[in-house]
Amino acid sequence: MIFKNLILVILCIYLSGCFSAPIAYITNQGSNTVSVVDIKKKKIKQEISVGNGPVGIAISLKQSYGYISNANDSSVSVLDLQRNEVIKTIKLNGTPVGITKSSNEDYIFVSDWFNSEIYVIETKSLEVIKKMTVGKSPSGIICDTKGKYLFISNRDENTVEIYNQSDLNLVNKIKVGKHPYGVFVNKDLLFVVNVLDDSISIVNTSSFASETIKVGDHPYGVVSDLNNHFAFVTNTQDDNISVIDLKSKNEVKKIKVGGNPEGIDINEQNNILITSNWRSDSISIIDLEKQEYLYDIKTGKQSRSFGQFIKID
C-alpha cells in the first residue's frame, strides 16, 4: 500500500514536471518522418514514419492529434500525439501542402497546390467531407481563433482569399505580393509572406486594407506574438529571422538561425520561438523576449514544419 502510494506520488511529480514541456513536431521531407522533439531536454523523443515528403502540420489540442500533409504521396497522416503513432492515413488526390484546423477543431483544411482545391476533413470521422475550388496554387492556410474566417494564400495568382469558416463562402479576395506562401493570423492582423518580393503583407481583417514590409531573401513562414508587438519571419535564403516591430512597421533586427529556415512557431508560455531548418536538418530555438538565438537541435532530414507545430505536453 505504502509502495503503491509512493509510486503515485512519484508519478505525479513526474507528470507535473512534464506539464509545461514544449514539444515540437517536425516534418522531415528528406526522411519521411516526424521528429518529436523535447525542447527543454534538447533531444528527439521519437521519430515517427509518415507519408512521402511531409510538409505541413496542424495540431488538434482537443484530440491531441497531429495532421501531416504529405506532398509527394497525396496523403494526410493522422498522428495520435499521446502514443506518438500514426492512426490513419487519409488518401487525397492532388498535392497537399498547407494544413490547418478550424477554430472549433471540428475540421482540418488542406490546400491542394496543383489542383487548386481545399480539402475539408472532419476530425471526428477522419473522413474528407468536402472539396472546393479556390485560387491558383493554394499554399498557406489558417483560421482565426474566433471562428470567423479561413485565410488562404494562392501562390500563383498573388492573392489571399478570405472564406467564412461557417459556410465556406468567399468573403473577399485581395492582391498581395509575388508568390504568397506562409500565413498567420492574430487578433485583427493577417500576415502573409511574399516569397519572390522579399516582403510580408499585413492585412487588417476588418477593413482588408494591407501594407507591405520588406524582409530578407525568400521569406517562408511568419508568426506574431499575442499582443502583436512583433512579427517574426523566416528568410530561407539568408539563414535568419526578420524581427518586425508592428508599431513602427519596420524590420528592427535579424536573428541568425540554422540553414534554410522554413517553418516557424511561437510559444509565449515558454518564451520561445522555433524555426525548422531545411538545409541543416535541425530546429533553432530562440529566446522570444531577448530576441536571441539559443541553440539548435538535430532533427530528421530536410525539416520543414509548415504550420503550427509546438504543443505543450
Binding site: V97, W113, Q237
Partner: protein
C-alpha cells in the same frame, strides 16, 4: 527552323520559371583546398569568370541592368544559362546567385558558395549548396528528364566537376 526552336525554348523557359513541385531538392558539396581563404575567395567571388574553373562552362558574359548583375553562361553541352548575382558577403566570404533561365533541368534554383578557413592559414574549405525544384510541376506521371532525379543529377554533375577544378586552379595559381 530557328524560329521554331526559339519558340520551343521560350515555352520551356516560361514553364521553367513558374512551375515546380512542392518538395525542394538539395545538393551540398564541400572540398578542402590547400590555399589561403583570401586566395580562394578571390576566385569564387569573380562572378563573371566561372569559365576559368567550372569545366562544363565554356564562356561567361556579365550584364548589368539597373541593380541587377547577371551572367550568361555558354555550356559545353551547347545550351545557355542566365544567372543572377544575389549578393556578395565579403565578411562571410559567401556568394549567392540564382538561375533566371536556361538549359539546366531545374526550376527555382537558388545557390550559394561559401569559403571557410581550414585547419591552417593555407587551407580553405569551400561549400557549394543548391536548393531547387524539378521542372515538371504536376503530379505523376512525370515526363522523363523533368523529374527530381534529373534535376539533382544535373546540379550534382556541375558541383562535382566544378569543385575539384576550383581546387586545382587555386592550388596552382
Amino acid at each position: 527552323m530557328k524560329k521554331i526552336i526559339t519558340s520551343i525554348l521560350l515555352i520551356f523557359i516560361s514553364f521553367n520559371i513558374f512551375a515546380h513541385g512542392p518538395s525542394p531538392q538539395k545538393v551540398e558539396k564541400s572540398i578542402t583546398i590547400n590555399a589561403s581563404p583570401d586566395k580562394v575567395w578571390a576566385i569564387v567571388k569573380d562572378f563573371g569568370a566561372v569559365q576559368k574553373w567550372i569545366p562544363l562552362v565554356t564562356d561567361s558574359k556579365v550584364e548589368k541592368k539597373g541593380e541587377d548583375t547577371t551572367r550568361i553562361l555558354a555550356l559545353k553541352s551547347g545550351g545557355k544559362v542566365i544567372e543572377r548575382l544575389k549578393g556578395i558577403d565579403e565578411e562571410a566570404m559567401k556568394l549567392k546567385y540564382e538561375i533566371v533561365e536556361g538549359a539546366i533541368p531545374v526550376a527555382d534554383y537558388n545557390s550559394f558558395i561559401v569559403v571557410a578557413k581550414g585547419s591552417n592559414p593555407n587551407q580553405s574549405t569551400v561549400t557549394w549548396v543548391g536548393r531547387f525544384y524539378r521542372v515538371y510541376k504536376r503530379n505523376p506521371p512525370i515526363p522523363a528528364g523533368q523529374d527530381d532525379e534529373t534535376a539533382v543529377k544535373a546540379v550534382t554533375e556541375i558541383y562535382d566537376a566544378g569543385l575539384p577544378a576550383l581546387k586545382k586552379l587555386a592550388e596552382t595559381k
